[in-house]
Symmetry: D2
């Protein structure tokens, strides 16, 4: 048996300027992240990790984190993974996202890891995984648009 190279085989991506600083700045302006208690824990070319402690303000009717809140953090992780590879004055918008909710979002500490599957000039393909206390609970794929020269849409 002979499987193809692992589907998450490490790619080497090119970045422009101080990508890590640009990501940190933009994360700082994404108010929903501070509202949710999310912090940026790692940035690398095409990869971003966020963490969030459990908080009952963001739960659904069974006391777990709401699927949409998990999606919010996954989308930010994936979006900033894409943003880390973009030109200096570009900004990122999500075209569409899909989240698979594999297990209940139950736990004390949540981690969200985003990663670029395929960069591009106009569209970047990304994925992200959510972990609750190190167990994978959800997976997102999203298409991110590279926006350039649009007034009022920066970072």
């Amino acid at each position: 048996m002979d499987w193809e190279r692992p589907m998450t085989g490490e790619q080497v991506f090119e970045t422009q300027g101080n990508f890590a600083e640009r990501v940190r700045d933009s994360v700082g302006r994404q108010t929903v992240l501070s509202t949710m208690g999310v912090r940026l824990v790692s940035v690398a070319p095409g990869r971003v990790a966020l963490e969030m402690p459990f908080h009952s303000d963001f739960t659904q009717q069974h006391g777990f984190l709401h699927a949409g809140i998990v999606t919010t953090a996954l989308d930010s992780a994936a979006g900033y993974a894409a943003y880390s590879l973009m030109p200096e004055r570009a900004s990122v918008l999500t075209i569409e996202l899909k989240t698979s909710l594999m297990r209940p979002a139950r736990g004390a500490l949540f981690r969200f890891e985003g990663r670029v599957l395929k960069p591009g000039r106009t569209v970047m393909f990304t994925e992200a995984s959510a972990y609750a206390d190190d167990v994978e609970i959800a997976h997102l794929t999203a298409s991110m648009m590279v926006v350039q020269g649009r007034e009022g849409v920066e970072g």
Copy 2:
């Protein structure tokens, strides 16, 4: 030219017991909704509408509502639309959701309408639309699981 019946043709769905009260009760237990300022404005068999005023706590880096927050409300609208058709002791879990972000989530009042496309004993197919001041900004499709007899997962 001869188009098929409109894709959102009205279907008549069966409900069990006091479905509207069950939906209202469960919405009341979904803490994230009150955190976000979302309120339930309509329930009908297989349809639910929610509303949310803009609040800067839930914005992304350009000052619009974050895609994940829009998804949170869309998922709740779709999930409760499904829940309105479920047996009395069942509960609803999202299997997966996809959101298409058609326009920036910019506006003063947001409305989220969920609707069942196809009910089922195990899986219900749903969709939901988000409107910002009456302009459609986003669309979700989601598969909802009908969960029965699982301890700690009710409503």
Copy 3:
């Protein structure tokens, strides 16, 4: 109760040049459609309908049309709906698609109706429904890229 305007409210779209002829020409070059016995039955601005008789060559293990074959026709219907609104020398590529398989694809005659939800200069949001003998069996949403000036990618 006061629902938002129907989610498939008719929009009026602008077209350029002889859009219907461009769609027919491109359909004629999409070899997979003739292989599958699919024919174009309607074109309107932002809408396209295709039909396909059942053929056992395209079935899965239970004798129904394969989900991927249903997706092929849905994607073509949605893609040509988008193409009908594009500039004369543009071409269309699918960025991503999602299909919800609501009922088994069992029937004698299949119909696929695609429609643009939101046009755009770079990305168009579309949806499509599949009917087996007039019963809706599947639903697709897809993001379509408007490609201009790329050698070897026309129509």
Copy 4:
């Protein structure tokens, strides 16, 4: 920096009976695969690989494999990965699938690798990647239903 375990970390899955033979039998009954020239090249617990040589019968208007044909093979690879973990008399149906079309489906030999992300009694979460001459061109995620005791739906 400290990334979570690789997102495709190898899991060990339980199988029942002669899973490989059940997969081969069912692949043999999936007529669309022989129509498309697809053959089964590997089966392991929760993993399946298929291969298909290029054939112009299945192309879109630019001469590449149609996105829906790529999706057909990806869905089969993912569905059989799920099926390999199912009880002996169960059958598999796709609830929904999403395909990201990362690069044009241009090449001589296509390979499709499916894999279970999370097994389950009712729903299995899967993903699959498509390679054209060893370059990843597309990625699918799909939810698969485990169907038991439904007349006429076996394998």
